[in-house]
Amino acid sequence: MTTIEDRVEQGRRPSLGDGRRDGGERPGFGQRAWATVFAFPYLAHLVVLTAWPVLALAYFSLTDYDTLSSPRWVGLDNFRRLFGDEAFWRSLLNTAYFAVLFVPTQTILALLLAVALNQRLRWISWLRSAYFVPVVSSWVVVGYVADAVFNPQFGMANTVLGWLGLPPATWLQSPVLVIPTLALVAVWKGVGYMMVLFLAGLQNIPEELYEAAKIDGASAWQRFRRVTLPGISGTTFLVLVLSTITTLQAFEQVYVMTGPMRGQPAGQPNGASEMTVLFMYQQGFEFFNMGYASAVAWVLFALIFILTMVQLRLQKKWVHYA
């Protein structure tokens, strides 16, 4: 990362201290002091709210720590216990299942919407806004709406199934359907944001490419396949990475939709929707196992890191940057 001081040294920018532009001289004490003063809020934030918690988390993961009494060193016991904990593995599987359903569905749907709405029509901005509304709604509101839609007794979803001649389903109360239902609602809420990213990507593709393709006799599908998709591959990569991280960190939605509204702990029915972050929250904040929860956090971090690295490596094969 280039800092102000680097830039001053390189002589690429006017210095903040004394206005000298001759890049050969090292900054004086005044410049350094003022750079420190201006950087202080960010540095303080970084140290106090990021670096220190990360270091503390590393330490706590190696201790038995209940937050009320002093941590007791247990070495790698938390990690050993974690790898043998059936509930942890189930939460990881639930998270993976959620990701497999959510990431491709949201990505494809967002792309299709963006292509459909990337036109100069009269009401197009209203339509784009309509798809974006769920993005700015809170999960509590969305949770109540979803509860009304998927309620097995009175919900609209079962009414629709009835019109189609299908039997009613129990949706969020079913151990089989709860994760697909959560994924469906998550797609509904998140697709507008990803659509906006795709729209930005689409609008960056030069019109001449489409004209050239048309002159060469390319069909609409061929133009989409050969011009649009490569043109937005960078955006697609961004959408995939963001969606994957979102699913691995899923908490708010699960917490709101699978528990408290029915006066029960989150993750219902009976742990079928317990994702890894919820598992971590319950261990740390409900069961006083903060050391164990810290170990979960590290494993989750490692997973997100590895997945992102894999995606970064794979993107070289299919992402085209202009």
């Binding site: 201290g17 309620n151 079913s174 029915p269």
Partner: protein, 439 residues
């Protein structure tokens, strides 16, 4: 733009300013609490801001300070969930309240983690026979870490109008679980003609197990933990009989909504108040929503099972921070005994949230004949006198979650009852053993 170069002195001033700002941001200032000679204690409690409980607590605190001029109370309150979240953070940072109101099931969780002062010596100075619930806070070694503030115990709630409309005789103290099933079956109706019941006789299942499977298992002779909360004993034929009764009532007799339907109907606490069920096991606090909905409310003793009525109780309690010094602890104890005395308990009973722990107040018309249903409030007192605790120990939340997960699966018919009980016993025992092994 050319910027002015500052002198070393001005730089120093600027840096000092930043340091001062940082010091303010990170809260270096801790006020002195006892500068006027009075002992100041921070008192925490959970209540909705501005609600009846909050207002009553503040007025009682004012009266207490008038009567005890040497003690100043600083009140800290928040709604239940926020209060306990904040409390955990405060205690972790060494800045917890000196005395706070604890959910009864959490007293041993905090005591077991060395956060609470042992009140045994204070408790010896009073006659504990004058109060309900003192023994519910006694741990396996006989220490008392909390003193009751208000008590809760489930009894059988019933809707008198629904019973009259169906021509069913109201529950009595002689009812057995068979009588309960038979009456519930008669009260179950399909009101919209779709071939499925939409009003049921009894809410059999609830995620709040104090009003569901816990007393039922006990009534059939089973139990959840023994040996002072050290040993899980739920895997027994008696527990199985209790759960089988529930399965039979929900799925065979169809006298109560099954697990999925119960959850689909929203909060289980609103089902009785919305006339969805004619009966439920309910703690005293459930009289508030029932009366607010103008239900023609009656209460009766819990039905008799093969091994009794399975009474359980929770005593929400005042606890004292272990970090509080002797002077503060004595002031806190003064507040606790004040709150347990007749006038504050009478005021508190007026809110209708809890059974008074002062036996005189509980036996008075203030509690027994307040002018609002239910009439037979003596049922609560009879239950309280016989009630066991809810298997309290320092890992109560974690082990009961593990047990509830398995039992809920059995009651949702996702797993055979026998397997669920075996797994519940194994999972819960592991949690308890792990805690004590590390202590």
């Amino acid at each position: 733009m050319r910027m002015q170069r500052f002198s070393p002195g001005r730089r120093l001033v600027a840096l000092a300013g930043v340091a001062a700002l940082a010091a303010t941001m990170f809260g270096c200032g801790a006020g002195s609490a006892e500068s006027d000679g009075r002992v100041t204690i921070r008192l925490g409690y959970y209540a909705e801001a501005g609600g009846p409980a909050d207002k009553t607590m503040r007025s009682l605190a004012d009266e207490f300070m008038k009567a005890n001029s040497g003690i100043k109370l600083e009140l800290e309150s928040a709604p239940y969930t926020d209060f306990f979240k904040r409390l955990r953070t405060q205690l972790a940072g060494g800045r917890g309240p000196d005395v706070w109101l604890s959910d009864g099931v959490l007293v041993q969780e905090y005591a077991g983690r060395n956060s609470l002062r042992d009140l045994s010596d204070f408790v010896k100075t009073i006659n504990t026979d004058d109060y309900y619930g003192v023994d519910l806070n006694r741990d396996s070694d006989g220490h008392v870490y909390g003193f009751p503030q208000g008590a809760q115990t489930p009894v059988l709630f019933y809707n008198k109008k629904m019973f009259a409309d169906a021509g069913v005789a109201e529950p009595t103290g002689d009812w057995t679980y068979d009588d309960l099933t038979a009456a519930a079956k008669k009260l179950t109706r399909d009101t919209n003609g779709d071939g499925k019941p939409d009003v049921w006789g009894m809410r059999v299942y609830s995620p709040g197990f104090t009003e569901s499977w816990w007393p039922m298992i006990k009534a059939f002779g089973g139990d959840i933990v023994a040996d002072g909360g050290h040993k899980v004993v739920i895997d027994s034929p008696q527990s199985r009989a209790g759960l089988d009764w529930m399965l039979n009532a929900m799925y065979t007799e169809k006298a109560g909504p099954d697990v999925v339907t119960t959850k689909a109907l929203g909060s289980p606490h609103t089902m009785f108040a919305s006339n969805r069920v004619a009966m439920q096991f309910g703690i005293y606090a459930r009289t508030i929503p029932a009366n607010a909905a103008k239900i023609d409310l009656g209460v009766a003793p819990m039905p008799k099972g093969p091994a009794g009525r399975g009474h359980v109780a929770i005593a929400n309690s005042w606890v004292v921070n272990k970090a509080a010094n002797q002077r503060k602890a004595e002031a806190a104890w003064k507040w606790i005994t004040y709150f347990a005395s007749e006038k504050p308990q009478t005021n508190w009973a007026g809110i209708g949230e809890a059974i008074p722990i002062n036996k005189k107040v509980a036996a008075s018309d203030v509690f027994l004949k307040p002018g609002t249903p239910p009439a037979n409030r003596q049922a609560f007192l009879d239950a309280l006198a016989e009630a066991d605790d809810l298997g309290l120990n320092p890992v109560w939340t974690e082990y009961t979650t593990a047990v509830a997960n398995q039992i809920d699966r059995a009651l949702a018919k996702e797993k055979p009852v026998g397997d669920a009980l075996t797994d519940a016993q194994r999972d819960a025992q592991q949690i308890i053993d792990r805690f004590y092994a590390n202590k």
